[in-house]
Subunit: 315 residues, 4 copies
């Protein structure tokens, strides 16, 4: 086993039970969190003045480690498919979203040597390291999946929201323009009111004052609340759908494992791995298992094949 | 093939794969978007002063094109059913919602020559051209369908909202009237507070100040949040329902295409067209297809192809 | 047929197709709406000054009609079950919620002769006539059904909301009391902030100003938004459930009507009545019917008995 | 039957129909509510001044009773399993969440004798007695169950919310810092705006004022509303799921009771107990029962007793 192969197994973890790889993962996650906290608290002036050296040390050490990590990933990605030509495989890997995020996480540091950027912007750009978490977070993966699957519904929801925003801002501009020329001076300015109203944020820094403006504003609010909540509804129902499908996948695995009447240690571990990879809680998994066990092995005859609950003695 | 028939095929696109018609669609969509942006940014005074000529040119050219489009649609609509008398068919077409929207989009321009309208109102009215998008947007079609199907539930939701608004405004008017006669001077005035509160917008420009007013306001808010969210909930669940039915329709098409064990190029293109017309994302379609493939060709016998549950042995 | 029987059939409409009863219903609904508008606009001072006589006339005529209606309902309710003793049946009827609402709608007028009530309170109390709409509105009936069925879940949701409100108000009182003794002077006062925050109304008239107060406030808001939305979620899912069951009931009726292969005029009218009594829209009903028709008469064999969609040719 | 056994049956109520235990429960629930009201209203200065003696009496008597209750529970918990060694069983019991809450409810009082705590903090800490309600409230139990089952989805939702909050606060800090150094002085300060905006509370005490700040704020709001509502959506759908499962469990019990064609008094009482323990409303239970009855005794053969759909002819 070559060094490159060992690094590959450590970083990309094709076998999720590898203990060294798990330790590396935990170390990198910790480092990302420390980085985020550092960027956030660096902006508190007195805090930065007191702990300047700490902040700089964290930054330099982090960039060093992230750079080594990035190069190592590029170097060892060839192991995935040893038969393909190395260079084309590396270019392909470097263009995957995850590799681009890794590059983005270290780029601002090196860029500062080449071009002059405002220091403050530079600092905050480091926050994009948060997206390195995508690799480890099943939450983000799940959300991205929902976005991809419900893409067309989202586009529909946002299109309707934009139409509503434009119409609401234009109407209110028409009726409030002369009364409040500073706040409803143009449709783009009136849009600030429309966004705050239709999303129900309602800051109150811009509100209609004329009776007609209030009447129109009230109508827009009442009609709009349902439609502004559409993207939220689509996301929530998409997520519920995905969780349901994951549960069914887990139940299917349990059913297969239970088919011979017992679950041995190896099967148990495999099921546990599968549960983790789906991102489901232990309480949920044990409930699914309990339900399965009660049914016994000859599922097909004593249970309704559709809802899965036990059928009466009359069958 | 006559010219009228060619124009008809180009504008109404009975065959969705016609390339010229697709180009015309994209051109018209672009023109609508340019128009909307023009109306919105015209209201920014310095922007209008600088680019006055541009705005006027866009308006005149757009109205010319939309007028030609409208007349062409009226002229060639006869092609749809060549056996019926032309004039009655044209009147029928001119009264369809889409044709009325097309007329509404150009009417303000010509109306300005006949009657004197406030220039500002006239400008903003051009925003109604946004509804010309209905023809091209599956999002709007879907929303209109949901509205039609859940009409009775919507009426119910809005009726309850109105009852709540009236009761909340009246109660708060009673307890706050003497403390804030300028803000709670009458029930219609108190309605502004009630709308802002029950929709959870909460501008804060009108708030109860007396202890009793706060107590009543708090109770109304707590009781009301559930009910004000009703129309939103109905819309979201209606949309989820419709998406589900569309997915089932797509799955059914895939099943039919897969029945002979393979999907040829022609079938693929037809399925792709069908997917687009339903407004579903590619990711979703490929997932549906994957699920179908895994089941194998004899799907029809062991599983219900729609709900996917195993059928009894008796089937 | 006695007069009492005729009045009974007109007011209570045991046969929903009775044309006179329908006219009486529409008249009473119109009268209620006129009453509500009258109460609302009476509070606008200049409006009341100008149309004083109109308002008084509407009130006196309405009370007269509602009184006659109430007495007539009490008088003729005996027709429902002619075998029972009349007086006990009348007392039972007078204690039903709908009869109590009818009494409540006229009581304030007569009460003003007996006791001295503030005129303003008296006027607004007339708004309770809105509840007379319950008899005619399928929306309100549906909502009341959902409330009754999901009663325990609602109690749970509100109990958790109250616990959250008390804890949030107490915590913020502790940390903000010394900084803003006028706004967070006691836990009941801090409750006003807690309600505005947890319901996401956010007036902004009371906000924490200390760093600790803001930190606690932010945590409460983030944790709380999920739980404050619980009653809304329960209501929405309860309503969706009920709509689903109604649709199934309608589909069942259609299936029965279609069993002999055709739907005659009488069946059609009966189905239309049934659809109206369920409060479902025409678009929805026609969709259900279309789906049914496509299936043909021998449903049991060609369709999955569970999801109802057509099974493949392999069956 | 020893005294310890009697106390055990009274406090822990293994048999839920025990009348003495029910009385003790109601007494303790009342005492907790009186305590909560006392803590809340003690903070109103003039109220405390007037009824000082009452508040002190309530506190001393409550602590005495809660202490006796706590000691009694520790003492008699051995009855649950008389064969195990008493001391280890008592330690185990003392470490259960419910026993720890009981300790927490009395600890502040005794702690005040040992260490010096701010009197105000001490008073408010007594509010934690609200958690003693967990033992009696099916609402809280249900919520805790949902939390445990949907744990991973919650973590996902909150993780995404935190990512959004950090990115929104950082972006707004960048663009608004120079215009409003007092309100957007650092990322942690900007977080207050981000929380108020993404949760749609929108106090309005901090709002962007620069055009770029408003543009970014509007984008964040529109994109964010969907994602901030995720935890609420997960909780609501989890709760709906659990209610559904409870209904199915109740329906199953009804089916078993109905199998011999009739429901006798004893069965009725047992079903009523079961319904109460599930926390379902009477209206719901009677609807489930009605549905069962209509189907007749041979339910088991033509319909699946769980999902209610007709079973195939092969069954």
């Amino acid at each position: 086993m070559t060094l490159r192969n060992q690094v590959y197994r450590m970083l990309e973890r094709p076998d999720r039970r590898e203990p060294v790889g798990r330790a590396v993962d935990i170390f990198l996650i910790t480092l990302i969190i420390v980085n985020l906290l550092s960027v956030v608290f660096e902006t508190v002036d007195w805090f930065y003045a007191d702990y300047r050296l700490w902040f700089i040390t964290i930054e330099v050490v982090s960039v060093a480690i992230f750079t080594v990590e990035y190069l190592a990933r590029i170097w060892c990605c060839v192991e995935q498919d040893p038969d393909k030509p190395a260079s084309s495989q590396r270019i392909g890997f470097a263009l995957t979203p995850l590799a681009l995020i890794d590059l983005l996480a270290i780029a601002p540091f090196y860029l500062a040597f080449l071009v002059t950027i405002d220091l403050r912007v530079l600092r905050v750009l480091r926050l994009l390291r948060i997206f390195k978490m995508t690799r480890y977070s099943s939450a983000m993966t799940m959300l991205l999946d929902v976005f991809r699957q419900e893409a067309s519904a989202f586009v529909a929801g946002f299109f309707i929201l934009v139409v509503l925003l434009v119409l609401a801002a234009s109407g209110e501009y028409l009726v409030e323009h002369s009364a409040q020329p500073d706040k409803f001076g143009s449709i783009p300015e009136a849009m600030w009111w429309a966004v705050a109203t239709l999303t129900t944020v309602g800051y109150g820094d811009v509100t209609p004052v004329t009776p007609l403006g209030k009447l129109f504003g009230a109508l827009v609010t009442i009609i709009g609340i349902g439609m502004a909540a559409l993207p939220a509804g689509i996301l929530a129902s998409g997520l519920a759908d995905q969780l349901r499908r994951k549960r069914e996948a887990l139940a299917e695995q349990y059913r297969l494992a239970l088919q011979d009447g017992k679950v041995d240690a190896e099967e148990k571990e495999a099921l546990e791995e599968f549960r983790k990879s789906l991102g489901l809680s232990k309480a949920l998994a044990s409930e699914v298992l309990d339900k399965m066990r009660k049914r016994g092995p000859d599922v097909g005859q004593r249970f309704c094949p559709h809802c899965g609950s036990e059928l009466g003695h009359g069958h």
